[in-house]
Assembly symmetry: C2
Homo-oligomer: 352 residues x 2
Amino acid sequence: MGAGSTVIVVMAGGKGTRFWPRSRERRPKQFLPILGERNLLAQTVDRVLPTFGPERIFIATTTELAEETRRLLPELPPDNVIAEPEGRNTAPCLALALVHIARKRPDAVMAVLSADHWIGDEPRFLEDLDLAARHAAGTGDLVTFGIPPAYPETGYGYIETEGEGPVRRVAAFREKPPLETALAYAASGRHFWNAGMFVWRLDAFREELRAHAPAVLDPLEAWASAGALPGDLPAAYARTEATSIDYALLERSRRVAAIPARFRWSDVGSWPALLDFHEKDAAGNIVRGDAVLVEARDCAVFGGARLVALAGVEDLIVVDEPDALLVTRRDRAQGVKQVVDELKRRGRKDLL
Amino acid sequence: MGAGSTVIVVMAGGKGTRFWPRSRERRPKQFLPILGERNLLAQTVDRVLPTFGPERIFIATTTELAEETRRLLPELPPDNVIAEPEGRNTAPCLALALVHIARKRPDAVMAVLSADHWIGDEPRFLEDLDLAARHAAGTGDLVTFGIPPAYPETGYGYIETEGEGPVRRVAAFREKPPLETALAYAASGRHFWNAGMFVWRLDAFREELRAHAPAVLDPLEAWASAGALPGDLPAAYARTEATSIDYALLERSRRVAAIPARFRWSDVGSWPALLDFHEKDAAGNIVRGDAVLVEARDCAVFGGARLVALAGVEDLIVVDEPDALLVTRRDRAQGVKQVVDELKRRGRKDLL
């Protein structure tokens, strides 16, 4: 059992404020061409389209973003864009995808991907995906991908595995660790970054949700049994427990396996993370758009229509949009979130 | 002899690139409201208008800027805006003003001011101006104002004086000094910044130019003798020696006196110099326009129509214009000149 019965579910409902001012509520990170010519969502679909075909690729997103998502992905059947009536975290989102897909493909394996991550070495990625699908199909396991830690990141959750080999048992999910713990994890060979990518059989996923997260599943199953009328979905969805799939299911199920990824991965989670993906000039600068740099070092300019001039500055990230400009330091870009919070506080919907 | 026979000549032909991107060739510093609501040229005229009246205030500028200058100063007779056919430094500019004014007011005293400087304590300034005019009228001296050095500036020329009292003999003009010399000058009590403001009788000015700088004066006197036809001025002006009044005259004449200024003065020569004139918030920041600052310290935002967000940055100056943006450090803003030079090299007339 391989790609033939596997469907892809791309989670694409993220709002992501960390790429402000380029990202906005109506133009989230997955819609942006911040890596290459195509937006991240399209790149995610491109990656799996030749193997799986358009009929078996689904996008889970919010009602607000559904129309634009369909416009950006004309190759997919419009009905394959599943619209959450409201954001209630990942568990209800994936339960809705389950109910949606199971009507036509009850025997499928479902592979859950993120719309706004970067994947390197795509052939290996497809091989790992196939391995996961075959393992999930054969065993009923909930399969996660574990990313070998490139460094002791304290901002990710970790998967603690047991044993050796390409598919391993999961001993525990570990919360974002303090630095000392992260250092130990990065050295252990048993700990992996939890990249939020999952592969499971629909029936196994349903069974495990029933066992561990009925408050997530039950309202949607009741809705489906009553005819799955679109007009009834918002009320049903509002009754689901708003929680993450990690917390509701993966940390509780005893049927979780992990595959150490052989592909490369990044969540490209912030402006500084993006810098790793751009070529730098001799002074360490990255320039997109019209710019003049004088005695500037290790700076990045993501410009727009206007000229950006830097003189005698270092380590800055400058992002220029027609209605807003961001200047931050590459080592202090977490402040972008506070900028967005302040704009919310000021009621500046025009800039959110 | 006082204000009654004194005319003001405001030198307003400067191009000044140091306030780019706000200043441009057609919108030089003197046209900008960078200190308060009114532009610097209008403030300069406002300062002397009540005392001298519009008929006795002249503006010397370039042909390119003459029309806009008249528009900005509707209170002055249009003929009082004297247009240099081309920029040939300050000596031909002031010789042209001499010839222009002498036709109607041969007995006047002429006080030369700059269009883009800041003057503090205006009553004292007017007192010093009156003192200078009376001294110049009574003696025929070429009177300069010397600014008591506030710190050992190495970017200005200095006037070395002899004796004591409110009007002193000038022993020498000193070029921009190295730091050690500037330290000695600042401590001496005998050295003053040369602010480029002068007061002299027209006849004394003519005599001294004839004696020391005939190559500056002769083409213009010949033009005046031949009827002062406007169409003949460009050719006559092109024959004048392009040189500064300091070099051509003041460093050579033996009739130069200096008045230590009792008013306050700044040439507001750069973005960092401008910061001294703005109130700072508790974190040392200055904000003009729409901005959000998060963990920003000692920064200045001169914004425009768009929101400017700073996050986790220090000591920056950000200047936002519709077609260009500058980010520099307050201690390295001399790089602004290099930015402008680079734009010239690239042929970016749209931004100059």
